[in-house]
């Protein structure tokens, strides 16, 4: 596959960043300097300072002589790398493979990316427009190799997008500095009168190697694409795939099942580590007679449950034609999505032979959010609101039996609602109560059941619960908050019995 690389050169990386952070510095000449052997040496210059003739490597005192009102800031060590890493992460929107090139460049592998922006021209323009708008001064180039892109971005004079095959001619016109060589080699080249790469590009490699060292031949080959140059992306791309070579060709359905289980186990472990679940999985099998076939499965949402995935594959095993035998299985997960660990607990329901329920809940949780599914267990509290707790998973069993000794309503109001009552005798159930403007005459009553507030949790008043039935037959759970003789008692309706 034809590969394309882009190189982005930030001409004034650190000073641009400082000017973005402090807008008042925009257009003002300033430098970044660091102490070296007892004097301040300039490490970075702003575009305005550069225009005035101040260059990197100058001593600050000399620069001040040129321009007395030059502003100086301390250079922070390691700043470039941090900046470049952040920029490279930003560049992941343009390509999955972005690498940093210290001290001030980024290498992008844009193979198969540019067409999404409608061609390399638009792609590059988009990058330049966005970063220029942000305040960076930059130059960029797209060519076939990393070395060539580097050279065109820094020393190119004409086109910045070099099509395939034209790079040799372009390179010939470049100065030797475009080859990323060490300064001493460049010195020697210029002493010998090699001002253009074209003057030595056709020399035998052995001669060049003998005179200028190994690096010059290597750099030339890299720029011309004769040797491949590896880059280290900031975000390593590791595909989700597992391979299982078989010692003996596999021909039986049983053997295929074992192979799939093995592969799924490995891939699920990795998915678990990375908090991901797969949406699509492809099993490719290589037969001994050279035939390569594949079966694939898809899931409604991210899944990393081995049993569930195996069931999906199991349905397709019958379509596999092993022929003389299968010697290699490769399981890939081309589409993976983030999957929280929470969902995993639903799957490992031990008592649930039927994963169908878990599957259903998974789908529900996937659509409406995991917070929608509840299961309750009894908790060791008498206070009604605290008498139950949420189960952490589908298979969690209650620690204590559900209490049955006292009547509990089937329907409980989330918050007790105040009611007005008429109660004749202290500590007796009321005669009637008014709820939502309606008078309920009480015919039968049970109680009271006193429930004390747990002082170590909350210090409120205790409740005296009564189960009452009005003349229409409806049954209610009402309570009086606090002691009767304390004066300030209030009655509440808390629930409805069946």
């Amino acid at each position: 596959m034809e590969r394309r690389f882009a190189y982005i050169w930030f001409c004034h990386l650190t000073t641009d960043q400082l000017a973005i952070r402090k807008p008042e510095l925009k257009g003002i000449p300033f430098v970044l300097a660091a102490p070296e052997r007892g004097r301040m040496v300039i490490r970075a210059v702003s575009p305005a300072a550069n225009a005035a003739g101040i260059v990197v490597g100058m001593v600050l005192a000399d620069a001040r002589a040129l321009m007395p009102d030059l502003k100086m800031f301390d250079q922070q060590p390691g700043k470039e790398e941090r900046l470049l890493r952040a920029l490279a992460a930003w560049f992941l929107r343009y390509t999955p493979v972005a690498a940093i090139d210290l001290p001030d460049g980024l290498i992008l592998d844009i193979t198969g990316c540019a067409h999404l922006w409608g061609g390399e021209q638009n792609y590059l323009e988009d990058i330049l427009a966005r970063l220029s708008a942000a305040g960076y001064h930059l130059r960029a180039a797209i060519t076939d190799t990393v070395g060539m892109s580097w050279a065109v971005a820094r020393y190119g004079t004409g086109r910045v997008i070099i099509e395939r095959g034209a790079q040799r001619e372009i390179l010939k016109a470049m100065p030797p500095a475009g080859l990323r060589l060490a300064p001493e080699i460049l010195d020697r080249l210029s002493k010998l009168g090699f001002y253009r790469i074209g003057s030595f590009i056709d020399m035998p490699r052995a001669v060049l190697r003998r005179r200028f060292g190994v690096s010059i031949a290597e750099r030339l080959d890299q720029a011309l694409g004769l040797v491949t140059e590896t880059i280290t992306p900031v975000q390593p791309v590791v595909p989700f795939d597992e391979r299982l070579p078989c010692l003996e060709p596999i021909r039986t359905a049983n053997g295929i099942q074992i192979a799939i289980r093995n592969l799924l186990e490995q891939i699920c472990l990795r998915l678990l580590r990375e908090n991901k679940g797969l949406r699509k999985s492809v099993l490719t099998y290589y037969r001994v007679d050279g035939v390569v076939q594949k079966i694939e499965i898809g899931t409604n949402q991210a899944v990393r449950n081995m049993e569930h995935l195996f069931k999906l594959f199991e349905l397709k095993i019958s379509t596999i034609r092993p022929g003389l035998g299968i010697e290699l299985f490769v399981l890939e997960a081309p589409i993976v999505e983030a999957l929280s660990r929470q969902q995993e607990t639903l799957w490992t329901a031990a008592h649930q032979e039927d994963t169908a329920v878990a599957n259903l809940l998974d789908r529900v949780a996937g659509r409406v959010g995991a917070g929608a599914v509840h299961r309750y267990l009894p908790d060791e509290h008498h206070w009604p609101e605290r008498s139950l707790k949420q189960a952490a998973s589908l298979d969690q069993q209650p620690d204590i039996p559900w209490p049955e000794d006292q009547p509990r309503p089937v329907s409980l109001l989330p918050k007790p609602e105040p009611i007005q009552v008429t109660s004749p005798v202290p500590d007796y159930p009321p005669m009637l109560f008014i709820y939502k403007g309606k008078v309920h005459k009480i015919r039968r009553a049970d109680g009271p059941e006193r429930i004390e507030q747990e002082w170590w949790i909350d210090n409120g008043l205790q409740r005296d619960y009564y189960c009452v039935e009005d003349e229409s037959g409806a049954r209610y759970w009402v309570f009086r908050s606090g002691h009767y003789d304390s004066g300030a008692t209030q009655w509440y309706l808390h629930g409805f019995f069946a």
Partner: protein
């Protein structure tokens, strides 16, 4: 004479076939669940409560809703006998799980799905009804149209899950594709004369509509872990009333 006997046998056979095509299982069909509803079960075709179908319950108010919840819990107790779980779907849930224990269910075997949006409710109900591993699905739906209920009906026809639609205070009651429509109100409990307190939960169960069956009204109470029929006031609804409601 012989011909007439053959004819009536043939008609009975055909009727049974039609019923089974409509989703009603005959009594001989595998093991039938004993709900213990007593004479109420005679209202249904084949004299058996139709499982694997959608039933509609209407409650005009909170007290009736609580009674319906109790009645449903009693039914669920039977449906969940074989260790299957049940899903209870609602948007504004007030169910207090410890209160269901009395009706013979382990409250931890019910999975509550609490939704925020009405929009997701019917989707969830349909998905749940499609899931064969469930014993029953209870859905607290306020409004449902004929088309939406048809979808639920189609789902249960395949999965044989029993669905209960509990409609609390619906705006309008229109025909929907359910095998039956119920209304349950609480009525005063009875105790031994002279005894204080509140008795067993007792309901007036009205079967307003039942497909291929007879509508009617019964009084039931839940005592000692099972339904008990109270014969005194039971009566079949006058036909005029049935027409009006159904």
């Amino acid at each position: 004479m012989k011909q007439a006997v053959e004819k009536s046998e043939l008609i009975a056979k055909l009727q049974k076939e039609i019923l089974s095509l409509q989703g009603f299982r005959t009594a001989s069909d595998d093991k039938r669940l004993q709900f213990g509803l007593g004479p109420l079960e005679n209202a249904f075709p084949n004299h058996v409560f139709p499982t694997g179908a959608v039933h509609e319950f209407i409650s005009p108010g909170t007290a009736e809703a609580a009674a319906t919840t109790g009645f449903l819990a009693g039914m669920l107790g039977t449906l969940m006998q074989d260790k299957k779980s049940c899903v209870w779907i609602s948007t504004h849930r007030t169910i207090f799980p410890p209160g269901l224990k009395v009706f013979g269910i382990e409250p931890d075997r019910i999975i509550f799905i609490d939704l925020n949006k009405e929009k997701d409710l019917l989707w969830t109900v349909e998905e749940a009804l499609k899931c064969e591993a469930l014993a029953a699905v209870v859905a607290e739906v306020k409004e449902i149209s004929l088309t939406e209920s048809r979808r639920l009906q189609l789902a249960v026809e395949r999965s044989r899950v029993t669905g209960f639609l509990h409609r609390c205070n619906p705006n309008k009651i229109e025909n929907i594709a359910c095998v039956s429509r119920w209304q349950i109100r609480p009525i005063s409990s009875e105790l031994e004369p002279g005894m204080p307190g509140v008795g067993h939960p007792r309901w007036d169960v009205q079967l307003l509509k039942v497909r291929n069956g007879t509508a009617g009204s019964w009084q039931l109470q839940w005592a000692d872990g099972r339904f008990e029929h109270i014969p005194v006031l039971s009566k079949i609804l006058p036909s005029a009333y049935i027409k009006k409601t159904g």
